[in-house]
Symmetry: C2
Subunit: 541 residues, 2 copies
């Protein structure tokens, strides 16, 4: 049967479409599609008509209401589908109610019901009880995940030569921002933060100009303490030390429990900033096997801890960087028990912890910390204002003073105005509402990015499918060199982070990390297409 498949569906369902019977189309499940068959329970004629509408004519400014009812509801369905494909309604967002659409298009509600039912059957939208219809978040092609096998011995770190180029590319605003894990300012509450900053500049000019010596602004620490309940902890403001971003927090935490030459276990791959911090502190990295789905392999960790004198585990348990893995609560509890048993401290980087796509905020490792061994570190750099440089560390009680002294000699204190403005913002603005919006956008972006990547990148490419955060880890087929790809992408004004930066040994040479914390638009689509083309070209070399 000669079927003109809609371009959008070509993109998303290309590998799955095949004719089944005369009356049905079936999604073939050779790639398992979450193991689920999607049945196209429409008669062949309707589907043909539905799909044959050309891409160029997708904008129907007027509906042909003279045609019979059967055709009208398909026209309406197709228009909604256009809105979805165009990005007017993004995955996870609510579409107009049936009554609204009926009024807007001047058709009967029963016709709209038929349209919605069609779209629901086709997997474009889903009904949510007592809420309405939402654009369906389509699952990704592959779900097996990525599991790594890093080098087996601890070793000192030597910064890769590419590091500085990558930092510069991350700071270059003329590039498509697929490199640094930075949210576009339109995803952040830029205006309301601006109002807070102006307000406190006016009202508390002297406080803004003065040092905030000690553990940090008290109001901010109070707001942070209030929020700690959501991560399963009950932290008092006295236990919190405000730092210049999460990296200072991590540096101080590591310094507190190690001395140069000590061994620190890390996920593999792990954030290049973590690796670089280990280098600067003269620490040895011990890379542990990690799964993109469940995080650090605890059996591998225990094996290493029992073999080597590991002083600390540096880990991002919720939406790790770069894999995006989320450890289950059970795993988190197990990790804390394991480290407690062996007297190993945990430095927990929870910077992405509030960016889950669905459900409650994941619990922190710290919430399972009965023996006070977890040094909790986080910041507002992914959720409010990277440029403010405000993070915090919640160390075990016995390290609190030591960390305060070390902070004093490292940077004295974080920027005062930023601390006061954030305290004001958290108190007076709806941070949770902002988070809900941000999570929804990141969830949609994750969907859009991953589908685009699967569409454009070479056959055999694997990608991670995190359930939170703003990062996709791409594993190209062997032979595609990420450092070369990075250089070529730079020439096309695209930043990305090549895989070897996330390893101590230069591993992951066929991997890249992609930032999704941006606005989905044609430039980003074009940048991903370009990376795809460059990768294809490198594959042929």
């Amino acid at each position: 049967m000669n079927l003109v498949v809609h371009k959008c569906l070509q993109t998303h369902y290309r590998p799955f479409l095949q004719t089944n019977t005369d009356s049905e189309f079936e999604i073939c499940n050779h790639n398992s599609y979450n193991g689920e068959k999607l049945l196209w329970s429409l008669c062949a004629r309707t589907v043909c008509r539905f799909f044959s509408h050309s891409w160029e004519n997708q904008y129907m400014e007027t509906l042909d209401t003279s045609s019979d009812k059967n055709h009208l509801y398909i026209q309406i369905a197709e228009r909604i589908k256009s809105w979805i494909n165009e990005g007017t309604y993004l995955p996870g967002s609510k579409i107009p109610s049936m009554r609204q659409l009926s009024t807007k298009l001047d058709v009967s509600v029963s016709t709209v019901i038929q349209s919605y039912q069609l779209l629901e059957r086709l997997g474009f939208i889903e009904a949510r009880p007592q809420s309405g219809y939402y654009v369906k978040i389509r699952p990704l092609l592959q779900e097996a995940g990525i599991v790594t096998k890093p080098a087996s011995a601890p070793r000192f770190v030597q910064t890769n030569n590419t590091f500085l180029d990558v930092i510069h590319a991350c700071g270059d605003k003329s590039l498509a921002p697929l490199g640094a894990a930075v949210m576009h300012q339109d995803l952040l509450p830029t205006e309301s933060l601006q109002r807070s900053l102006i307000k406190i500049s006016r009202e508390r000019a002297a406080d803004c100009i003065n040092y905030e010596i000690g553990a940090g602004n008290w109001q901010l620490r109070q707001e942070l303490a209030k929020r700690s309940i959501e991560m399963g902890c009950d932290i008092s403001p006295e236990s919190i030390n405000v730092t210049t971003g999460c990296m200072e927090a991590i540096n101080l935490a590591l310094k507190a429990v190690t001395k140069p030459g000590d061994i620190v276990a890390v996920e593999s791959p792990t954030y290049h900033g973590h690796i670089n911090a280990l280098e600067n502190l003269g620490l040895k990295a011990l890379e542990i096997a990690t799964s993109s789905q469940s995080g650090m392999d605890l059996d591998a960790l225990e094996e290493k801890i029992s073999k080597f004198d590991v002083k600390a585990v540096l880990v991002t348990p919720s939406f790790s960087n770069p894999l995006g893995s989320l450890m289950s609560d059970e795993s988190k509890q197990k990790m804390v028990s394991l480290c407690s048993k062996y007297n190993v401290h945990i430095v927990e980087d929870d910077i992405y912890g509030e960016l889950q796509f669905e459900g409650n905020r994941p619990l922190a490792l710290k919430s399972f910390d009965k023996k006070d061994i977890v040094m909790y570190c986080s910041s507002f750099s992914k959720t409010l204002a990277p440029g403010y440089r405000i993070g915090w560390v919640i160390p075990p009680a016995k390290f609190f003073d030591k960390i305060e002294i070390m902070k004093f000699s490292n940077t004295v204190s974080p920027n005062s105005a930023a601390q006061i403005a954030l305290a004001d913002h958290l108190k007076n603005n709806n941070y949770d509402r902002h988070l809900r919006k941000l999570r929804q956008t990141l969830s949609q972006n994750m969907h859009l990015f991953s589908h685009k990547i699967i569409e454009c990148f070479p056959e055999g490419t694997k990608i991670t499918t995190p359930s939170g955060g703003c990062l996709i880890w791409v594993e190209f087929p062997k032979g595609i060199n990420a450092l070369e790809l990075h250089e070529k992408a730079l020439k096309h004004k695209i930043s990305l982070i090549p895989g070897p930066l996330f390893s101590v040994t230069g591993k992951y040479e066929n991997c890249i990390r992609i930032n999704t914390g941006t606005l989905w638009n044609s430039n980003i689509e074009a940048a991903l297409e370009k990376i795809g083309k460059l990768a294809h070209a490198l594959a042929k070399k």
Copy 2:
């Protein structure tokens, strides 16, 4: 001769007054008073009358113009003297012109001339060509300076237990601020910085919220480069890396040229933040003998460098902390040559470099740096806004990249809004005019503080008399314990820094550091008096 000496003069000249002849009083020079004799070339009768006016009646609301001319000019002189002693006209400030005063007091100009000449002869005021009369900056009692003899071997640092108490006291706004080297906000351009911050928050909201990844805001680096000419350098913006305050700059500079266990030479006493940074970096401190007048003893330095494998010298050549010493240009040149000869890097802390009381800004060590061995570090924490946390490092070219990478993993970048606001402020506001005003105030404060200290502190106390900065180092007679004094002062709501914090060995147990960067008022006077009383009590123990 039984002379009622004016209370103010008792304070300042008490140790020097003695009767000489019937017609002259001479400043006795048992304490040398700069080796200079000040002749009181007035007939005894006049001096008696001048001095006998009681303190309580110093405010003459009306002049007794009926008395003869000779008496009238003395009355006027006395009134001006009251203004000076009361602080209406501070040392270094201009007093009204003779014409203005003649009009104001309704007396003849010739009478005012006589009064001014009397005050000039008495050393209260001085004429400056084509400018008028100024309150004279009276030299201090002792000028021999303090020369230290620290421990002779390099050693690892262990933070003193008092450190955290001192940090907390420094951050406690309820205390009299004689501890931290912090300028009172009224000495800083709080309002115009506030305007800059509000302006850039409005106009560049997105830039404020975003990271400033890399070596820092380009406009700020341009302004810093422009200013480098005044310190004898010609630095390009490309050579400057903006940091989170001077302490981050120093940490990065030290890290770049050392590894844990290496030896770093420091002045003794030296800033407790320096000592603490050495501890955190696992470095050994080698304390070098230092003079409060000429800085680090270069012969001692050379001896130590030839004996030990010194990797770096950490030094504050202009208005050091805590001694306030200023190395001469010749010494600076010699130090750079010496270190070049032995391949030792210099980490130059120039944070007080713009705070000279008179003349041009001292040259930086960096200005003599032909072999590119000096890592120049500074910040705006003493001149504009401590709470902004903006400093910078100008490293030798070969370390630039290394430092940028290390900064990324330490704090990523300094606060963006602060960088942009300072760039705006430096470009559009008269920073030099502010500096002139700040220098004048600090100069006056140095005078007022030091005289008050000499007045109130126990006999035998030595103090430094820096020609710039905001610090006085007080050496009590042996037996007065600075840590005890610190604790007692805290109970009386006064912060100060005890001497042992400035040493690796707990030396300087009879010394304290006093911050003068505040507003001179009765609270500060009372705080100094209280410290004096506490010290007296400790001396008697």
